[in-house]
């Protein structure tokens, strides 16, 4: 089996970027794809991503907070927003996704595991959604000091931690030599003014982690979102690369990079 692993998160119904990711991974000879959760939300036509995720035996999907909510038919996504405007837009995409996700796919989401563990190159590897201790905890680069990350790794018995949930990627090597990697998401760009999305490749022989940026047919996705009458604010993010919603959860440093 290939020593190359793809780790990604936050599909957000974006079947266009998921298709591009799997194609790029196949071309690179990736041996396994790990999705850290949040299959739904934001994008169009939720059921279109499931055949790609469920038909391949080299794709492993973990349950994020969104998947837990959709799988259990809850009333909201439990994303952890605190601002009324953020919650307003989150509820639009949640209601849309809940109504259009087939029951069989909901049951599949409900049964997903909540973490993956491996040992690669002698390092204890942990994959979680938000943080190892809480599914919807945001781990932002500017909000996670070294001491806190060392504590999280100690508590989780891990040397190399992968998370997603925030939507903005980063990699930190700690004073102890251990690492934390937020893989970003493939569902929407990271508020940086590009239309690219993010994932990482891991070499399991060396535990080297390489951040990657992925282009996909974002114009087609934007058209589909309009066809589905999703908010124009969501479409704008796909077309411009700047977030228009979920803004109040951003720390000031991450927000300062965007327009809104």
């Amino acid at each position: 089996m290939s020593n190359l692993i793809c780790v990604f998160g936050g599909i957000y119904n974006n079947h266009q970027s998921l298709r591009a990711l799997l194609a790029e991974g196949d071309a690179l000879g990736v041996g396994a794809f790990y999705c850290l959760g949040d299959v739904g939300g934001f994008g169009p036509s939720p059921d279109r991503v499931f055949p790609m995720l469920r038909s391949r035996d080299d794709v492993f999907v973990m349950q994020g907070n969104y998947d837990h909510s959709i799988g259990n038919r809850l009333e909201d996504c439990a994303c952890g927003y605190v601002d009324p405007r953020d919650n307003h837009f989150a509820q639009i995409s949640y209601d849309y996704t809940l109504a259009r996700t087939h029951d069989d796919n909901k049951d599949w989401l409900r049964a997903l595991p909540t973490e993956y563990r491996h040992v690669w190159a002698g390092q204890r590897v942990l994959m979680a959604h938000g943080s190892p201790r809480k599914t919807n905890e945001f781990m932002w680069e500017s909000a996670c000091p070294d001491g806190f990350l060392e504590y999280i790794l100690n508590e989780a018995d891990a040397d190399l931690l992968f998370v997603t949930h925030t939507g903005i990627p980063w990699i930190r090597e700690l004073p102890s030599g251990r690492r934390v990697v937020n893989v970003g998401v493939i569902g929407r760009p990271p508020n940086d003014g590009t239309t690219l999305v993010d994932y990482v490749l891991v070499d399991t022989d060396t535990a080297a982690v390489t951040p990657r940026r992925l282009s996909y047919d974002h114009l087609a996705l934007a058209q589909e979102m309009r066809d589905e009458a999703l908010p124009e604010e969501f479409v704008e993010t796909i077309l411009t690369g700047y977030w228009t919603t979920c803004l109040e959860i951003l720390p000031a440093k991450e927000r300062a990079r965007g327009t809104y």
Partner: protein, 306 residues
């Protein structure tokens, strides 16, 4: 919000019976949040709603020394603290505030709760440079209690409105986007229409990314005299906490350090019995939720975090 789930009639009817019951005990999970009362209870304003009666003459908690701040930061860093908050009183009254800010940002992200009055152009420029070069996030939370001078000044004092808004604009112009924090003494301010009034105000002053936080008032300190104190049924007893609520209550993951020692949260520093000792490690123990203010956190889901 839990307030939707609480049956007030039942609480009132059972007030005498509940008075005999013990309060809930809350475990301590981890020191996520360190609060530092850097200027104690000394403030350049004397807002009518202040829950710890801060003002120019209240030195019941004096300024912390730089050494005291260093000691708390060192201990908190060893415990894996996630974020630090400065409050008071008014933090920018402290002559060593800049050294405290720089030292803290070496350890963790920092939020400073301020009334903005002392943030002149030079201070705003320094904060902007510090924000830009800091590895960790720096937030300024500037308190404003109305969208007009009439509304705000009735709570925060005469002629404070324009001074506060001026500070918000100066911070924005120097690259720091402050969180405008509103205590909802005027309850309508937290309604959608009220929020929009703040957004309109900030946009009219050139701030294109308005950030807002709304806080419920606590009925203690000067606020107890302004409005009214807690009723006899407004207390917590064993069994009141809902499933999962323990982790949401901020005192399960925060501690407050003042010049006089360690307290469970930012609200209770004037409650002598609430003092937990001299070190953060000593204070990493369960607490009793036996103060009426605990009821506000329970009912309103209050967190002092940004």
């Amino acid at each position: 919000m839990l307030s939707d789930l609480i049956n007030l009639d039942t609480l009132i009817a059972r007030a005498h019976e509940r008075a005999e019951l013990p309060p809930p005990t809350l475990a301590f999970n981890h020191l996520d949040v360190l609060w530092l009362q850097v200027t104690g209870t000394l403030c350049n304003l004397a807002c009518l709603h202040c829950f710890i009666s801060c003002g120019p003459k209240n030195d019941s908690h004096p300024f912390m020394t730089l050494d005291q701040v260093e000691a708390a930061l060192t201990e908190a860093g060893q415990m894996g603290v996630k974020e630090v908050y400065f409050t008071g009183g008014e933090p920018f009254m402290h002559p060593e505030i800049r050294a405290m800010i720089e030292r803290t940002l070496e350890v963790a992200p920092l939020s400073i709760l301020t009334n903005g009055i002392l943030i002149d152009d030079e201070t705003a420029a320094w904060l902007g440079q510090t924000f830009a070069k800091s590895r960790y996030n720096l937030d300024l939370r500037v308190s404003l209690d109305g969208t007009t001078a009439e509304e705000n000044d009735a709570i925060r004092g005469r002629k404070t409105f324009e001074q506060i808004v001026g500070a918000i604009v100066r911070l924005w112009e120097h690259g720091v986007n402050p969180v405008v924090t509103v205590t909802t003494c005027h309850t309508e301010l937290s309604d959608p229409a009220g929020r929009n009034r703040f957004i309109d105000l900030l946009k009219s002053r050139g701030i294109t990314q308005p950030r807002l936080k709304f806080l419920s008032p606590f009925k203690i300190g000067r606020e107890e005299r302004r409005d009214e104190g807690y009723k006899n049924y407004e207390r917590l007893v064993e069994g009141d906490l809902l499933e999962g609520e323990e982790d949401d209550l901020q005192c399960s993951s925060c501690r407050m350090v003042t010049a006089k020692g360690v307290f469970p949260c930012p609200i209770l520093i004037e409650v002598e019995e609430a003092r937990m000792g001299d070190s953060l490690k000593d204070a990493a123990v369960p607490i009793k939720l036996d103060h009426p203010a605990c009821y506000t956190c329970h009912v309103e889901g209050v967190t002092c975090r940004t």
